[in-house]
Structures are given as structure tokens and as C-alpha cells.
Symmetry: C2
Subunit: 206 residues, 2 copies
């Protein structure tokens, strides 16, 4: 059986469980706590020298790294990834956008504030994170004002990649009220059969 | 004719000129100075709402964003990108690695130190940039100790994506002396017919 190594609270890891579920592949989930050093052990580094979750191990032992490469791998040949050509390229644009212009801000602010609870420690950096994250959300809003999905006319791994952290962006203190098209898209994606949400962080004691 | 908009000193933009050249596609280069606001003009934002170089505009007006999506688009069907399956996934892993774990550190340190010449302003952040960049270079070294190319047994867009900033990493004060396999790979890639180097920064006055 396919093994997926990841942290259940990570949006990058959520992508893996979601694409395996939506493409009907049974898998075993192996929980790794990256905030507690679980990705820096010698055993884990032997699987992924870059020391990050998620990874997938195929039945023959081959390991696939990088959440968006995993999305593309398992989406190949399904409705979630168009055939090669401009339609596929539109999906790829969003996958790279997510890893470069979205995740580093939105996932990081969420992790600091809601999960690691080190907001005070990062007080100087957070305004820059919020600015950059809102730029990314505005780019998504501009697309979603014109179309129901990020790439093409139906759900693809572009939507899964961006849904991962956007649906918990408020945990990073990103107010989504101004993004009406984006919020409608969140509802649309969340209604997809088989799709689950990331766990919500417990509220910090006031 | 295809139009490529980019900054000649940017590794991300170098990727575009390189893949178009290696796949024998004539193109017109339109120089954009992103350090001087050239990506934030209304005309440019109409082409790429994310306000980044490079982009490519096809003959029918369609615009492709994200340097690694552009690499994959033009490499489709050539020796530079294997057919779908695990061999292609190996290429995709490196493309996402480059944008998440390599470029944000190696390209940024280079830009601050050698091109914008604002090393002093970023003195507090640079040690973290160097640490993270060396982690990425060490991951490449581990692969290149075992294989001549990053993915599979021949040149692919994985090599082009990583060569882009690695061959000028020393401008960001990354000492490559410790990475003998990586340096041999730089020589191997640089010997590819048609492949050029990024311009070297002028040395700052001492």
C-alpha cells in the first residue's frame, strides 16, 4: 500500500491525503511532527534529504517529495490535471504561484500564530507576511471574479493546492471578508465529494 | 513571434531565454527592470497580475507566467522533459524544490549583495539566507554525487531551473568550494550547446 508521511495539520500534507482520496488510492498515513523535529531524524532524511513533509512512498519503495509534484503525479490521467498543452500549463502556473507567492506567507503566519503560538516573537515580520499574503489572495480574487475555478472550467489540482492553506488563512489573521469571489470558491471546492478540511487550531487562552 | 518579458540579470528570466533557445523557438526579448518598478506598471500588471518577471506572450496573445511553468510548457515533447510518469515527476520535484528551497535564498542574497548592493541593510537576515541556501546546495550535492544530472540520466529542465541561480551563487557569497560534484555538474551543464551564462555583476568598489 502507498504510504504518505505528513503532519495532519499541514496544508501541504493535506494536499497529499486529498489527491490520494479523490483518485481512489488507498494509503497508509504516517504522522510526522515537523514542529518537533520529526523531519530531521536520520531515518526521515534517508527518505527525503531536504527534510520536509509531505512525502509519499510507493509500493516499490520509491519516494516522491514536494507536495505539488505529488499532486501532479497522482492527478496524471484524471480529471484533476488536463493533458499536456496550455490547459495543463495554466494548472502549473498556479502550483508554482502557490509555493512561491502564497504558501510562504499564508502558511507561515498561520503556523506562527495559531499552531506554534509565537506571534509575539515574530511581531516585526508579520506585517510583511500579511502584505505579501494579501497580494496573493488578491491575485486569486481577480481570477475567481471571472471563473469558477483557478485553471480551466473545472476542479483541478490548482484548486487543491491553493485551497490547502487558503481555507485556514484566517488562522494567520488574514481577513477574507474583502474577497467575495474567493470565499464563494472556497465553498465550491469544499462541497467536492470526499474533500475534508484541515483541523482548526484551538483558540489561544485570552 | 513569441515575446519574452524579463530582466537579463535574473536567473528566473534566464530560464526562459534558455528553454526557448534550446527548443529552437525564435523570440523577441523585452527588457523589464523589476528593481526599478517595471513589473508594477498598469501595462505590466495587465499581462501578469502577480507583477513578476518572467512572462512569455504567445503569438495569439496568451500569456504564460511562472518561470518553471514556462520551462515545462516549452519543454513538452522534447528531450528536456520526460513523458508523464515517475521520470517526469522527478523533474517536477526539482522544479518545486528550486522555487521553495533554493531560489528564495540564493537569488535573494545575490540580488542584495551583487546587484542592489544593499548588503549592509540586510546584515541581520543574510546569515539565515546563507544557512538555508547551503542546505539546498547540499541536497543538490547529495544527488550529484550519484548521478550526472538532477533527474534521470540526461539534461532536463530540472538542470536548467537549478543552474539558473547556482551558476551565479558566488555573487551571493555562497562559497561552492565544498561542493565538488555540484561544480562538475555546473561545468557539464555549461558545456551544453546554445547555453549561455548570466552576466556577472560588476565588483563593488572596495
Amino acid at each position: 500500500m502507498i504510504k504518505a508521511y505528513g503532519s495532519s495539520t499541514s496544508g501541504n500534507c493535506w494536499k497529499v491525503a486529498t489527491v490520494l482520496t479523490l483518485t481512489n488510492r488507498p494509503f497508509q498515513w504516517i504522522e510526522i511532527d515537523s514542529n518537533a523535529g520529526g523531519t530531521r531524524t536520520p531515518d526521515y532524511l534517508a527518505l527525503n534529504p531536504n527534510g520536509k513533509v509531505p512525502i509519499v512512498q510507493l509500493e516499490d519503495g520509491a519516494v516522491i517529495t514536494e507536495s505539488n509534484a505529488i499532486l501532479a503525479h497522482f492527478a496524471e490521467g484524471t480529471r484533476l490535471l488536463p493533458a499536456p498543452g496550455l490547459d495543463r500549463t495554466r494548472v502549473m502556473e498556479w502550483l508554482f504561484f502557490e509555493q512561491y507567492s502564497h504558501e510562504p506567507y499564508i502558511a507561515t503566519a498561520r503556523n506562527w500564530i495559531a499552531w506554534k503560538r509565537v506571534k509575539d516573537k515574530h511581531a516585526a515580520e508579520l506585517p510583511g507576511m500579511w502584505d505579501a499574503g494579501h497580494k496573493a489572495l488578491a491575485v486569486m480574487e481577480q481570477r475567481l471574479a471571472k471563473a469558477s475555478y483557478l485553471a480551466g472550467n473545472q476542479l483541478s489540482i490548482a484548486d487543491l493546492a491553493l485551497y490547502a492553506y487558503t481555507h485556514r488563512a484566517e488562522e494567520g489573521e488574514f481577513d477574507l471578508a474583502r474577497y467575495s469571489w474567493l470565499r464563494a470558491w472556497l465553498d465550491r471546492v469544499s462541497a467536492e465529494p470526499g474533500l475534508t478540511s484541515l483541523p482548526a487550531a484551538k483558540k489561544a487562552a485570552q
